[in-house]
Structure formats: structure tokens, C-alpha cells
């Protein structure tokens, strides 16, 4: 059975659905972040537009869409213009391999984990382009910090993901979920350590507190997107939250069993797990101060990477012993 046209139509429909989810989800996350921060700080957060400010994001999006797009006169226009796409497009692409339920996945690639990890790393290029193209010293510093940070945190991130791959024996996202149907990986101590390492390095990957060094409002004003306004800024903003969703989705799939739950539809379980992780990361964000650049690098290379390496060794030993 081979109907290429129908396949194509299905792909397009799925693509549209992914795009819609990308935007709506990011808006929801922004609202959630505002509400969580308000709760932490004994405030109420947005309350005026819609019930409990739920329509605030629509108002904000309309505002950002209608805003004038200001281009700095001395910016490198081509690079500057291209940068938001380099940040947003890989993020959207990463949604391709996110298993929302046992059937809801655009393409279950057999190298799914690898695909997500590699395509999200392309974002760093966009961030650096934004920093360079803005021709602003603060932005440049932010871009350079981002490049260094994301590249160095990729190492412990992948090493911790490796543990799961070893346990599951597959790189496919669905395959990893299926492997957990017998019992969550997280119950094993070595996977717990890997989960911790993953969460920390994933936080650093998406530039969130305590690793929001590229943005670092109190130091670099706003880092690489200082000069962006209007829709271009919105793309950075949406991509940031979409990235947050991606890392949480990967965490949920790899460590918490993805869509496995007690009842159907299984997508509910997946989203519950993802938003649970996101809420926790938000809680962390509104609690902790920021670490310094060199301390963060030292943390990645001197603490996280050795832990992850030892963890892999232990996992391998355990697997061998188990036969």
C-alpha cells in the first residue's frame, strides 16, 4: 500500500497541527510562568484581560504583531534578519519526534532522541547570529556566552541521555516509551542520577535561571535579543518557551514514561508530566540567583560531566551483570 499523495497531505496536516501547537503552547507557558511567578511572589499576576488574565497573551501577541520592527542602523541586516528563524525553526522541527501519545507523533524516527538533541543545538547558531548581527556590545557578549554555554552543556546532557538509551536499547522515542511499560526507568538509582544531570543541563540548554547567563538582565540588559522588537522578538520569545517544552517533553518521555498512564487518552498523561516538569523549572527559576559564567563552565566540566561519565560506567556494569 503506497499512496504518496495521501501521505503528503497527512504530513502537511500534521505540520500545521505542530505549528499551531507551537504557538498556543508557548502562549500558555508564558501565562503559566506569569502566574507561577506571581504565586511565588505573593501577587496575583495578570487578572484584567479575560478570566484570570487568560486572554492576556492574545493581547500581547497582537501587540507584538502590530509593533514596528526596528532595525538598528549599524546592524548586519542579513544575519540580523535570519537569526530569529535559526532559533525558531529547529525548535519547531524538534516537535516532529515528540510522542504526545501512542499514535500522536509526526514521525517516529528510529534515531528520534539523537534528532531532537542535535536539531535543538542548531539554536545556538541563531543566538550567536543575533548577538553578532545586532552590532551591540551587550548582545555580542550575550551571544558569546550562549555559544559557550550551550556547547558545553550539550556534553553532560547527551551523556545522561545515553544512560536511557543503554537501558532501552533504542533511539526511537516511541521505542523508549514502550520499553518503560514494564516499569519506569526512573526507579533505578543510576537513572535518577541521570535525570538530575539531565534536568540541570537541560535548564542550561534553554538559558533559564540559574543559567540564564546569555540573557542576564541585570548584567547584559537582555543579552542577544536586546535589539529585537516586534515579531522578531516574539519569535525569540516563543522559541524560548517551545524549547522549554521540548526539554521537558524529552525528560517526560525518557525518564517518566511519556504517555504511559492509568487511563486513556494517553496524551493527557504526557501533557501532565510535561507541564509538571515545566512548573518545577519555573519554580526553580523564581527562586535561585544566577551563577557566573566561569562557575557555570566549571560546573559543567568538573562536576556534571564526571558524574555523567561515572554514571554511564555504572549503568554499563549493571547491564552486563544483569546479563
Amino acid at each position: 500500500m503506497n499512496y504518496p499523495l495521501i501521505d503528503l497531505v497527512f504530513l502537511v496536516v500534521k505540520g500545521v497541527y505542530i505549528l499551531a501547537f507551537f504557538a498556543v503552547n508557548a502562549m500558555f507557558l508564558i501565562w503559566l510562568e506569569r502566574k507561577v511567578s506571581a504565586k511565588v511572589q505573593n501577587r496575583l499576576g495578570p487578572m484584567v484581560v479575560g478570566p484570570h488574565g487568560s486572554l492576556q497573551l492574545i493581547a500581547d501577541t497582537v501587540k507584538l504583531l502590530l509593533k514596528e520592527n526596528i532595525v538598528p542602523s549599524s546592524a548586519d541586516r542579513f544575519v540580523w534578519w535570519l537569526a530569529p528563524f535559526f532559533v525558531a525553526v529547529p525548535t519547531i522541527a524538534a516537535f516532529l519526534c515528540v510522542p504526545f501519545s501512542n499514535v500522536w507523533i509526526v514521525r517516529d524516527l528510529n534515531v528520534g532522541v539523537l534528532f531532537i538533541c542535535s536539531i535543538t543545538s542548531v539554536c545556538v547558531l541563531g543566538v550567536f547570529m543575533a548577538g553578532w548581527g545586532s552590532n551591540n556590545k551587550y548582545s555580542l557578549l550575550g551571544g558569546m556566552r550562549a555559544a559557550a554555554q550551550i556547547i558545553s552543556y550539550e556534553v553532560p546532557l547527551l551523556l545522561s541521555v545515553l544512560v536511557i538509551i543503554m537501558e532501552a536499547g533504542t533511539l526511537s522515542m516511541q521505542g523508549i516509551v514502550h520499553a518503560q511499560e514494564a516499569g519506569l526507568f526512573l526507579l533505578k538509582p543510576n537513572v535518577m542520577v541521570a535525570f538530575l544531570v539531565y534536568l540541570i543541563s537541560a535548564t542550561a540548554e534553554v538559558n533559564r535561571v540559574p543559567f540564564d547567563i546569555p540573557e542576564a538582565e541585570s548584567e547584559l540588559v537582555s543579552g542577544y535579543h536586546t535589539e529585537y522588537s516586534g515579531m522578531k522578538f516574539a519569535m525569540f520569545f516563543l522559541a524560548e518557551y517551545a524549547n522549554l517544552f521540548i526539554i521537558s517533553a524529552v525528560a517526560a518521555t525518557l525518564f517518566l514514561g511519556g504517555w504511559i498512564g492509568f487511563f486513556r487518552p494517553s496524551a493527557v498523561w504526557f501533557l501532565l508530566k510535561v507541564y509538571g516538569i515545566i512548573s518545577f523549572l519555573m519554580w526553580v527559576r523564581w527562586t535561585l540567583p544566577r551563577v557566573r559564567m566561569d562557575q557555570m563552565m566549571a560546573f559543567a566540566w568538573k562536576i556534571l560531566t564526571p558524574i555523567a561519565l561515572v554514571n554511564i560506567l555504572v549503568t554499563g556494569l549493571l547491564l552486563v551483570l544483569k546479563g
Binding site: 505573593n42 519554580w283 526553580v284 527562586t287 535561585l288 562536576i303
Partner: protein, 152 residues
């Protein structure tokens, strides 16, 4: 090596402690008020815009003398027969005013007072520079925009 691990664990615990503090606060009730819908009650001594009971004023111009920013201006006329001073005009520049309350303090007949108006916003520069204190509706143009569902 051991001390290093100890440091990491202690650092981890300290972060959990911080999370506990913010987590505890998440359960508390918010302390803010929803401003345009709810309005705070001003205290008894609150010093808002300068106001006047014209009937009490004896035009002694002590307030004009004490005003640190020269925000008040008063013209008095003297009745040539009774030698009594009358209030001619009393203007107040709210943009100069520093809300120090010295005029209220120095007034011998308690004619001058600072009212409870704190929503001092206006559309044109100059709306507050020449306030005639003798008029009753002098601060009408400062009333804030109406909002639906104002809670008292």
C-alpha cells in the same frame, strides 16, 4: 574528593531550602490589591493635594511664607474701614508642590489642609499649575477614569 562531594550535597540541600521558602510563599494569600478595581483607604494624616476651607481663611499668608517650593500664591485685600484682611485670590501650583504639609501645620485657623487625593494624573501640562483654591470643583478634572466593578 570527599569534601568536594560534601560541598555538592550541601549546596543541593541549600537550594532545596530556598525552594521550600518560595514553595511556602506560594501557599500564602497574595498581598497586593487590584488597584483600579479596589482602592486603598488613605490614612487619617495622608498628605495629598493642598485644599482650603475659604470661609476659615484669614489671609495671614503664613502658608505662602513657609512653602519651601513657593507653590502657593495669595492676594489679600484690606478693608480700609475695618482694617480687616480679605482673601482676594489663592492659587496653588500642584506641580511645584512637594507635599511637605508645612502649610497645614502653620495655618492658625486650620483653613488649609491636604486632602486625600492621590490620583494626581492629568492630560495637559498645566492642568495642575494654576489651581484656584477658592473654587469648589478645582480637582474635578483629576478624577481618574471610571472602571467597571469598583469594589469599595
Amino acid at each position: 574528593m570527599l569534601s568536594k562531594i560534601n560541598d555538592i550535597v550541601a549546596g543541593f540541600i541549600s537550594i532545596l531550602k530556598g525552594l521550600a521558602v518560595t514553595g511556602k510563599n506560594m501557599l500564602k494569600k497574595p498581598v497586593t490589591i487590584q488597584y483600579p478595581f479596589e482602592k486603598p483607604v488613605m490614612t487619617e494624616k495622608f498628605r495629598g493635594l493642598v485644599d482650603l476651607y475659604p470661609e476659615k481663611c484669614i489671609a495671614c499668608s503664613q502658608c505662602v511664607k513657609i512653602c519651601p517650593t513657593a507653590a502657593l500664591d495669595l492676594t489679600a485685600t484690606t478693608n480700609p474701614e475695618t482694617k480687616k484682611r480679605f482673601l482676594g485670590a489663592f492659587s496653588y501650583n500642584g506641580e511645584l508642590c512637594c507635599f511637605c504639609g508645612l502649610c497645614q501645620e502653620v495655618c492658625p485657623t486650620a483653613a488649609m489642609y491636604l486632602n486625600k487625593c492621590y490620583e494626581v494624573a492629568y492630560y495637559k501640562h498645566g492642568d495642575l499649575t494654576k489651581i484656584d483654591l477658592l473654587k469648589a470643583d478645582k480637582y474635578q478634572h483629576l478624577t481618574p477614569p471610571k472602571v467597571k466593578g469598583l469594589k469599595k
